[in-house]
Subunit: 325 residues, 2 copies
């Protein structure tokens, strides 16, 4: 009745940006990510018969309020799957992901919770089934079930049975690295949930965004198959810029970018002009992630650390899928 | 055979961003601007019978190359209108507009050239006719024929006979001020001509941009009629953000923003949060223009000058239309 799972966060190269169903979290477009080995959550779930409610401890602190509610609501789904609706759980998580800074801590968090929770209660799911369950806790978390490059297929059904993650594998391992550039001032004002909702509902650019996804997805999958780094980076950077463009058309308009965000973007483009292949992507926050190849690691790290307003640069390799401890 | 005209530049509050006809410059959307009294061009045109070609002196320096070609091509249009195709002209301009920095020096330049040129050669045009002629030199220049708030009606004809500027007047004078915030590093990499062309041809957001214009135009004209500064500023700021969003979707993507651009934008939004009504707009370059009311001039100027990376702040009142000296 107790299990521990470790899941890594992922960085989207084709962004998830909008829901067609808020309750079971169905996206308006397919997305694609790289799981990162540098950022992860380790979660233990212990179901017990003598508890009157769930408890949730995050980094040794008891959690209440909205975050607690999301966890206990998700545990309800696991209880329903198993038929053991009379059990409550002690959930304990250690989060190695900076929160509220544009890093998807909810991705590794819900992937670890779903994995540990189902194993603890004795429900045996395939990876695809596990990804569909995880999706209902946090959309992008469904991609963290797998390592490496992962596509979240949007699906077309209203019940979500075809909205799941699958791995996209080059023939041999491809060591694409990611530098996570954390800015000194990083609290975001608009959550990704609220930002995507406002954008879907009000931005005149949302249709153009959706129309551009199938081609981006086709291109990036061919880049992964061919291990074509320039193509991978070009598509990822352009897709990120399109996602952020949609927010500028929202009503009221908003942006996740700080001045330092733009400085990092320009520095990456300058690196390319100077012969270092590097590409940026940015989630719903001010921080920047930079894609590069291992042979350029030292130069990329040095250039990024020199930028005024950058607090730290953390390097990451491709990470594995969920593991059980 | 000689005349001197002074024309002021204008700042677009609803942006001109795309051509449907490159040769006689017909826009894909109507636009609206405020003529500024701080930035202007004074041009003297002298037609003579004993010249073998046109000459163009800008700020006491002889101009050759592409800029010369645009002037002499425009003089051809004036010669054709008058029937006096055997005359050449000495053109001499003094430009009080920083060039290549997102300020439309071509706007005041072509408005002054069209006005002085037609008067020198003896062609008598109404303001609307003059604006249609000016449009063919530089699109946004057609709005500089008039003072205050000016709409460039896009028209629907293929010959451009209904694509002209008209004045939009509140019942009494409305003193809306503009602070031009010039950044320390200001050379832009992509001209507005090239930028709008690439955007029209490749951005998936261009349709959304066009679809949003009629409502923006309706709202801003009602704001001018009612002298509703908050509404004017809100529409202008949102329209500017939409224009800049379209460039992020272009292939390849680009932005005119520097890190300091974003810092100025955030400072303006902070001013509003602190009760000072101020709104930004940005043309095809990194500089920012800030709309404010006279009673807040000192505080707005002080706040903007304090921003690191800002070189200077120049204040301007609404400017007049073309005058003859």
């Amino acid at each position: 009745m107790k299990a521990t799972a470790k899941a890594h966060t992922n960085i989207a190269l084709i962004k998830y940006w909008g829901k067609r169903d808020e309750s079971i979290i169905l996206p308006t477009n397919s997305s694609l990510s790289l799981t990162l080995d540098g950022f992860y959550t380790t979660t233990t779930v212990a179901f017990q018969e003598d508890l009157s409610k769930d408890s949730f401890i995050l980094n040794d602190q008891s959690v209440e309020g909205e975050a607690y509610q999301r966890v206990t609501n998700f545990l309800d789904k696991i209880r329903n799957l198993s038929g053991k609706t009379n059990l409550y759980a002690e959930v304990s998580s250690i989060n190695e992901v900076p929160t509220a800074a544009g890093f998807a801590s909810s991705a590794s968090g819900f992937a670890a919770l779903a994995s540990a929770g189902t194993r603890a209660i004795g429900v045996d799911l395939s990876d695809e089934e596990l990804s569909r369950l995880t999706r209902q806790g946090s959309g992008s978390a469904c991609r963290s079930i797998y390592g490496g490059f992962v596509e979240w297929e949007m699906g077309s059904r209203t019940d979500g049975k075809d909205s799941q993650a699958v791995q996209i594998k080059p023939e041999t391992h491809w060591d694409v690295r990611v530098a996570a550039v954390v800015l000194s001032s990083t609290m975001k004002k608009i959550s990704s949930r609220a930002g995507m909702k406002r954008t879907v509902e009000t931005s005149p650019f949302y249709t153009g965004w959706l129309d551009s996804i199938p081609n981006d997805m086709k291109e990036i999958k061919s880049a992964i198959r061919d291990k074509d780094f320039e193509k991978l980076g070009t598509v990822a950077e352009s897709n990120c810029l399109k996602m952020h463009a949609t927010t500028l058309g929202a009503n009221p308009p908003f942006t996740y970018w700080h001045d330092t965000t733009l400085r990092v973007m320009h520095t990456v483009q300058e690196m390319r002009a100077n012969g270092i292949p590097a590409y940026f992507t940015i989630d719903a926050g001010p921080n920047v992630k930079v894609l590069y190849l291992p042979e350029n690691e030292d130069r990329v790290k040095e250039k990024l650390q020199e930028i005024p307003g950058v607090d730290r640069v953390t390097l990451s390799k491709p990470g594995p899928g969920v593991t059980y401890l």
